[in-house]
């Protein structure tokens, strides 16, 4: 079984300051982990993914995330927030060794607010 916990439902930062969105996971096997972004009334877009290669993963739009197995975390960061980053962010785990095409397990999302 796998699960994902996004520790903050809302995060508010000022434009130009760092962003930290926190995600913890549990998985019985070696997971693949993803961050998606969703702008209002749009579908989900992949930001970045971890699939057992480098633990520091760089994504689009200046985002990156670090896989920490000892802490079972996969936090998303960005050095300097931009107004266009305001959106909903989802942390997702896929445990492919669990067997079966059982899809992805989503966190409940973090709403990122950027203050001007």
């Amino acid at each position: 079984a796998q699960s994902v916990t996004q520790l903050d439902s809302h995060v508010s930062v000022s434009e130009g300051t760092p962003v930290l969105l926190r995600c913890n996971y549990s998985s019985s096997y070696s997971p693949s982990l993803f961050w998606y972004v969703q702008h209002p009334n749009k579908g989900l877009q992949l930001l970045l993914k971890y699939t057992s290669a480098a633990t520091l993963v760089k994504g689009i739009n200046g985002f990156e995330a670090e896989f920490k197995k000892s802490e079972t975390s996969f936090h998303l960061t960005k050095p300097s927030a931009h107004m266009s980053d305001a959106a909903e962010y989802f942390c997702v785990v896929s445990d492919w060794q669990g067997g079966g095409a059982d899809g992805l397990t989503f966190g409940k999302g973090t709403h990122l607010i950027i203050q001007p």
Binding site: G43, L44, A101
Partner: protein, 113 residues
């Protein structure tokens, strides 16, 4: 670019109607998924399919059925729509069983009145 296309962005239906939500992907992916998204509940898996004519129940299949007659198309069916099925519906596809990212359509916002 990978493309997952949902037939409608917005849909309004009456209680008791039979509703079809269509999804087409052009990447020859084996897996396709239907999710619903509600405030505070995140995304929940309704059904998925890993091959033509194959389907598996997700976490909340009650009140829904699906059809996959062709590899590129995955339909979600509400046999008798109810107001508690008012939601955002998202279709996704992926190329293999787990471990790879899913590609999402733009979503269908369904309102049942």
């Amino acid at each position: 670019d990978v493309k997952v296309t949902q037939s409608s962005r917005y849909l309004v239906k009456r209680t008791g109607e039979k509703v079809f939500l269509e999804c087409v992907q052009d990447m020859d992916h084996e897996n396709m998924f239907w999710y619903r998204q509600d405030p505070g509940l995140g995304l929940r898996l309704i059904y998925f399919s890993y091959d033509v004519k194959m389907k598996e129940k997700g976490d909340i299949p009650e009140g829904y059925s699906v059809s996959r007659e062709k590899k590129e198309r995955f339909s979600l069916i509400l046999e008798s729509a109810s107001t508690n099925q008012t939601s955002m519906y998202l279709c996704a596809s992926s190329p293999m069983a787990g471990g790879t990212e899913a590609f999402f359509g733009q979503g269908t916002r369904l309102t049942v009145v």
